[in-house]
């Protein structure tokens, strides 16, 4: 670490001050024999300091693989084959997580970037008390005594609004509900003050009222601590609640990126428009006879990442498709202030 501090990284200049994380042209492939599943195929994402970037997409769109690439936790045979993941450390230096040695990566996980997962029921070790697990995390990254670590663990539980924190420290995960466990997971993730929290569908397994509480909590913590959040979800309702900026992913690529208001006000990609139309709306979704409610699914399925269509990956399902879309892949082009769209025909939307 000392060598890095004395010699400023040549990357430092390349990242604007207010940006915490920027993935540039990231390609993550799963290579099996001759075939490569291009799960992440040229993704560029920017997370600003103190803001939340939501990455939205259906199953198989590559959103989770993107987050695992950033954490460098890809399971074999997944590999980052191209691209940069620039990250600004708390001391101001910029590192490329895509090529950082595993040893330094380990120091970043937990302390700089923390991650929470979808399954609050199984993300905690059933053999240790909640306090034990938070204390382990604190003492792993900071040289503090057991007593001090316990004090900090209690404060963390109080921070995530767990009542009777002192008592809860000595309880095992099975003695807690799902929402409570997700709070503990957040406490665990935040126990070393990470600058960036990656949350991979943290509310998906929770019922809606608990989901709202957790989102509230994350918003409040972001305001109080000033951390940035990369929020992975398939739920546009959650996006509206928590995000500042949204990136919509489809078949391993970002198809649209925009500030949250702009995206909801006027989506500039047919896929985003289709996703928004999927949200049931009793006013809009009346059948012709005015009585029955209909859902509006997007026809078709996400193409296999082993066999992507040559042109626009969304072309086979797109209502606006024209011959050009099937031969040529559109690039990500400006479609408004801070608004990017990967569609030839975004003006029509």
């Amino acid at each position: 670490m000392a060598a890095v501090l004395s010699a400023p990284s040549p990357l430092t200049a390349t990242l604007p001050e207010d940006v915490v994380l920027r993935a540039e042209d990231l390609h993550t492939h799963f290579i099996v024999g001759e075939r490569a599943a291009k799960s992440v195929d040229g993704v560029t994402l920017t997370v600003r300091r103190g803001e939340t970037l939501a990455v939205v997409g259906e199953s198989g769109s590559g959103k989770s693989v993107t987050s695992l690439s950033i954490m460098r936790l890809l399971a074999h045979p997944g590999r980052i084959v191209r691209g940069k993941i620039l990250y600004r450390m708390r001391d101001g230096t910029v590192v490329d997580l895509a090529t950082l040695p595993e040893k330094r990566m380990r120091a970043i996980r937990g302390k700089e970037i923390a991650m929470i997962f979808q399954e609050p029921m199984t993300s905690l070790n059933p053999l240790y008390t909640v306090g034990d697990q938070i204390m382990e995390m604190i003492r792993l990254h900071e040289p503090v005594s057991r007593h001090e670590a316990r004090q900090r663990a209690r404060q963390m539980l109080e921070l995530v609004e767990i009542p009777a924190a002192e008592k809860r420290l000595d309880q095992y995960p099975h003695e807690m509900s799902g929402g409570m466990r997700q709070r503990v997971m957040i406490a665990l993730a935040l126990s070393c003050n990470p600058a960036l929290l990656i949350a991979d569908e943290p509310t998906t397994a929770l019922d809606v009222t608990i989901q709202a509480q957790i989102l509230d909590l994350m918003r409040r913590l972001q305001r109080d601590i000033g951390m940035s959040i990369l929020f992975i979800t398939h739920n546009l309702g959650v996006v509206a609640e928590i995000a500042h900026e949204v990136a919509v992913m489809y078949a391993g690529r970002v198809v649209e990126q925009a500030p949250v208001e702009a995206l909801f006000a006027r989506p500039r990609h047919p896929y985003t428009k289709g996703l928004l139309a999927c949200i049931p709306n009793p006013e809009r979704d009346r059948a012709a006879d005015g009585a029955r409610l209909m859902l509006n699914p997007i026809p078709g399925n996400v193409p296999s990442v082993l066999n992507l269509p040559p042109g626009c990956t969304y072309a086979p399902r797109c209502p606006l498709v024209e011959p050009r879309c099937e031969g040529e892949a559109p690039g990500l082009v400006p479609a408004g202030p801070g608004h990017l769209s990967r569609c030839f025909r975004h003006e029509l939307l």
Binding site: L73, R109, G110, I116, F117, S123, L124, N125, M176, M185
Partner: protein, 285 residues
């Protein structure tokens, strides 16, 4: 899930006493261990005290288990031999544990090491235990230490295999991934998160290995490739009694019974522990 009133955990002694086989096995093996430990206090004669006048005497009030061809007291020798047999069994188990657990964890965690370790383990398991032990002792030169090392090597693959299989399962669990995402180093995940989960299968297997190792030590000594014949172990005692079968059966019967009792009781303990530590087999949960 929340607010289920949980009955206080039953005491460990209650749990053991509820299981007859476990309780009996533990009682027997503890008794044997106690005899061995207190041998100098219990044994009426020194194990190597010769008394040619009293050679090949049948069991009696003076010599509970009779005497051997040199007039040495079989009862005293059986008790003293227990010290060695138990020590060899325990030491071989610990040795097998250290090697087997390490190999299993490494194989379970690192793909590259796995291909090598798994093949070696399979190859070693393909050899009959005793044959492999004999070969190892022959290679290392017979002594007490080599018998322990050889038996440790012979039984390590059993533990390695169990540990590897469970490691492969546990390392994919969400909480291990979560720990990794929060920067917990691999060795800590191995010991704190994986090994801790394996305590019960390892404990059960170690009990069985203890029994096998004692049996194997007796076999090696009987075959004359184990510890030197002057040192009383149950195996050497049976070996020297072999020539007097029919004439002085007590020379083989009593050390034989000692082997049977200790191996049987250890097997009972192993079975009992397996039931006790496996929540699916516990009726009181």
């Amino acid at each position: 899930m929340a607010a289920v009133s949980i009955a206080p955990a039953p005491r460990i002694t209650t749990l053991i006493l509820q299981r007859k086989t476990l309780a009996i096995g533990l009682a027997v093996i503890l008794a044997i261990a106690l005899f061995a430990l207190l041998a100098p206090l219990i044994a009426p004669y020194a194990p190597n005290k010769l008394s040619i006048v009293n050679r090949l005497k049948p069991p009696s009030g003076t010599y509970f288990f009779g005497t051997d061809e040199f007039g040495r007291d079989i009862f005293s020798r059986t008790i003293y031999a227990g010290r060695l047999s138990l020590t060899v069994g325990a030491a071989a188990t610990v040795f097998a544990g250290v090697i087997g657990i390490t190999l299993g964890l490494v194989a379970g965690f690192f793909r590259r090491a796995d291909t090598v370790i798994a093949r070696i383990v399979d190859a070693m398991m393909a050899f009959p235990d005793i044959l492999l032990a004999i070969a190892l002792v022959a290679a290392l030169g017979p002594s007490l230490a080599t018998v322990i090392v050889a038996l440790g090597i012979v039984y390590a693959p059993r533990l390695a295999r169990i540990v590897r299989a469970s490691t492969l399962v546990i390392r994919e669990l969400p909480y291990v991934e979560a720990a990794r995402a929060l920067g917990v180093p691999t060795w800590r995940i191995m010991t704190r998160h994986v090994l801790r989960n394996l305590v019960s299968p390892i404990l059960v297997q170690a009990t069985f290995i203890f029994a096998y190792a004692m049996l194997a030590e007796a076999s090696l000594s009987f075959l004359g490739v184990g510890v030197s014949p002057e040192i009383p172990t149950w195996g050497t005692m049976i070996a020297s009694g072999r020539q007097y079968v029919g004439q002085a059966d007590w020379m083989t019967i009593f050390p034989g019974v000692a082997i049977i009792l200790s191996v049987l009781s250890l097997q009972l303990v192993g079975d009992g522990l397996r039931d006790l530590l496996d929540p699916r087999l516990r009726k009181d949960l």
